[in-house]
Subunit: 348 residues, 3 copies
């Protein structure tokens, strides 16, 4: 892959400084060579502009002059994403439907789709155009997979589910395993069969080894544009809104409803039956129960306003042992003063 | 699937109100149609009885009159589980032992079992009657799987293990990976081979992508009726008692012993070599080390009485910054008072 | 497997007490029989020396006399690891390259390697001598796997990666899934293709269902001798030093750099772009952001000195409700005293 800088600039609708060159790849400021494009967003790293060997640097106006050659952008990350889409080589080395796959006679696989060896496509399932099903993937009966999806190796999509278009499942993701539901009986926990489904809308990405449970009844839903990281647990009947970011190892309890544009940072836990309003941001490792106001920023276990938590946990907590001493001292001193006041009372 | 309400009531040993109808499915109060059975447990949702189109509602006595037609139960969840077992269609679309599976010549697979394509059954392994082994499952050498088990796609059960009857492994669950054991040596961490086993008793269910390590020596044990959720980590030589509930993303360190009927809520961490008494309940995200009294309710990191934690974390924590101010004010005021007392002493 | 105690002692370079016997296995003090070797490290269990039926006990000098027969070691765990390596039977029941595997014509698999049925080896990939690739493993295109590696069932190693020698991947581990990187655009989160790689150095072990993301650009790196437990999440561009211990369910955000010999206890979360110095130890469930001094011991969220956290969280936290009462009492008493002082002022 090689492309003129001028052609790249035109494709992105950007201006570039310096003479035209061939661009053959993308790399970091430290690793880029004279035919690589690199990028700068964080001012903290601007000193690297002096030493980088990058042929051209994608950056915003203020830094353009400091680079030998620059591609000037108002949204560097967005244009970086576009550039990398041009230079990225997609994963995989096969095309077409492998004879080593199992495709049920009653399944519908679009002829433009790719199905790797050892993939399993169940009865009545469908796989849309240009979708890639890697090795070891299981697509259960009557599950519909849209167009342009990528199902990386060893994903499991159980039966009766619906995935939209442009959905990406990283390796080992499990969609539609049974929800965790049991009736308490004298003989122990009796399994409540989980006969609902999961719906994953367009443009959703789901991380490695993440688990999204099917609904007990009705539907577990992940709405369009939401991006879920690795090792996340999403319980039955959860609904996650559009364009959310759910970072690694978050856990969400059953029937919880998450609004649009919500950010749940790493290792957050959300109880079952909670409601998180649109645009809320929850700090890493926080524990959320009940309702969260739209647009609020919260942190801690149980979660409180993020600013309060930060003060309480990072400023106050370390001084707690000292505070107990100060209060004890106050009590002593006050007792002495009180005794003195009583003893030295003028009226006596 | 279609069944007379009267026949369903008889099968469950329950009474119903209203005229007899055909029941063809189960759904929520909001989604149910005139041939569906629905249910009500939580009084919070009783207003839905007015608008539901459900043909019949499974509920307890007090709500029966409010539904057009009711099936009256003292344990709604239990009877719901029974009803759903009647109407649930099990996952899967194949029967019998696929020619695309690998079954070692020295393995014993019961003729009533199902083995999907790309499943692997190792030397000397056995698979009991009516057990279903989905695609991509690995059953290691000399591992015994009981009757009526369901091993969902891409589960791994390493060699030399024992699973009882009616065991369910959700997709991607890993049983018998090596425990995390290393000897410290001048040359680095030396692996201690993990030559023990795992025993999973009858009626245990294990969630998607959960990992249960084999013992270093001896046995990691999950006792009968215990239900483990998704993405749980259970270390080597752990013993979990009967009828426990271990919720999503819990982690349990090596050699810890958990009693019967224990509930560990989501994201709880238990250190190694801990002991948790029968019937104890541990709140979400708590950190447990050492011993936990039977029947106790604890929470927090490190865990304390749940009531104390709730007060300390949700009431006191947010007010800590203010408390520091109050103490500072007290100190100032007391200093002034002390100075005044000294200065204004009558004896002077 | 059977071996004379005297021969075993010679192989380990240790002395033994008592008459020579045949050793046929290793087990715990409670389970060992007269032909088993057992071991004692923790003095807490020394009473078991009186009742054990073990033929010989591997232990340190002070306890040797208390056992009927002892193998005396200065590093019991290390010698135990060596003994168990002698008696351990490796997992697996096949040898050679199965005809049921998919090996791309352009892949290089050493003839001494083992490849199980349903394993996938992509174009241009290489598998080194004596490496074992279990069933359901995916090795992506142009990925190099060194010698003596064990890739347990259903592991995924995406394309373009490098694994050194003696690397062990427990079942379901995912190496080289896409990092979590999106550009914010008016139309939603735009995926930034992750075109970097992952390098796993020699002697690294990675736990069941752990996920290690490929770099956005450049390399995610796990250095030699580091041992990573189950269900750990490691973000893109992370570097983990040599001989670290990363315990179960730890999560590490993107671009974080972890030094050598670091210990991250269970469920620790580390933010992105953090730096953890050599030899630091982070307590279980802690939350780390920013920089951590080499050799420091920290705990809590956000993390502070471990000693401070322990005092604050386990001693002070439970007494917080009481502290608030004490401060309130002080305020009342001080108010009374102040009023009295004003009222009873001698000068009045």
């Amino acid at each position: 892959m090689s492309m003129k800088l001028s052609a790249l600039a035109m494709e992105l609708g950007l201006e570039h400084t310096g003479a035209d060159i061939d661009i053959t790849g993308v790399n970091t400021l430290e690793k880029a060579g004279p035919e690589d494009l690199s990028f700068l967003v964080n001012p903290k790293y601007q000193h690297l502009l002096e030493t980088t060997k990058a042929g051209c640097v994608l950056t915003s106006g203020p830094y353009a002059d400091k680079a030998q050659r620059a591609l000037i952008s108002d949204n560097v990350y967005m244009d970086l994403a576009k550039v990398m889409n041009i230079f990225a080589r997609p994963q995989g080395c096969l095309r077409g439907i492998s004879e080593l796959a199992y495709v049920h006679p009653e399944a519908q696989v679009d002829e433009s789709a790719t199905v790797y060896p050892f993939a399993f496509i169940g009865e009545g399932a469908s796989v849309g155009p240009k979708t890639v099903v890697f090795a070891g993937v299981y697509v259960g009966e009557h599950t519909n997979i849209g167009a342009n999806c990528i199902l990386y190796p060893n994903c499991v999509i159980m039966g009766g589910l619906h995935l939209g278009d442009n959905v990406i499942l990283q390796p080992g993701a499990v969609i539609g395993g049974d929800g965790y539901g049991y009736a308490q009986t004298p003989a122990g926990h009796m399994k409540i069969p989980q006969i609902g489904t999961v719906e994953i809308e367009n443009d959703v990405e789901i991380g490695s080894n993440t688990a999204i449970d099917r609904a007990a009844l009705d539907t577990t839903k992940i709405k369009r544009g939401t991006k879920i990281d690795n090792l996340v647990q999403i319980g039955h009947n959860v609904e996650i809104g559009e364009h959310c970011l759910v970072i690694g190892q978050v856990g969400i309890g059953g029937s919880t409803i998450v609004g649009n544009g919500v950010v749940l940072a790493g290792q957050v836990g959300v109880a079952d039956n909670a409601k998180i309003g649109d645009g809320a941001m929850v700090g890493a490792q926080s524990g959320v129960a009940g309702n969260v106001e739209p647009g609020s920023k919260i942190a801690g276990t149980p979660a409180m306003k993020a600013g309060t938590f930060l003060k309480a946990a990072s400023v106050c907590m370390p001084k707690l042992p000292e505070l107990f001493k100060r209060v004890k001292k106050l009590e002593k001193e006050l007792a002495i003063l009180t005794a003195e006041a009583a003893g030295g009372d003028c009226n006596e």
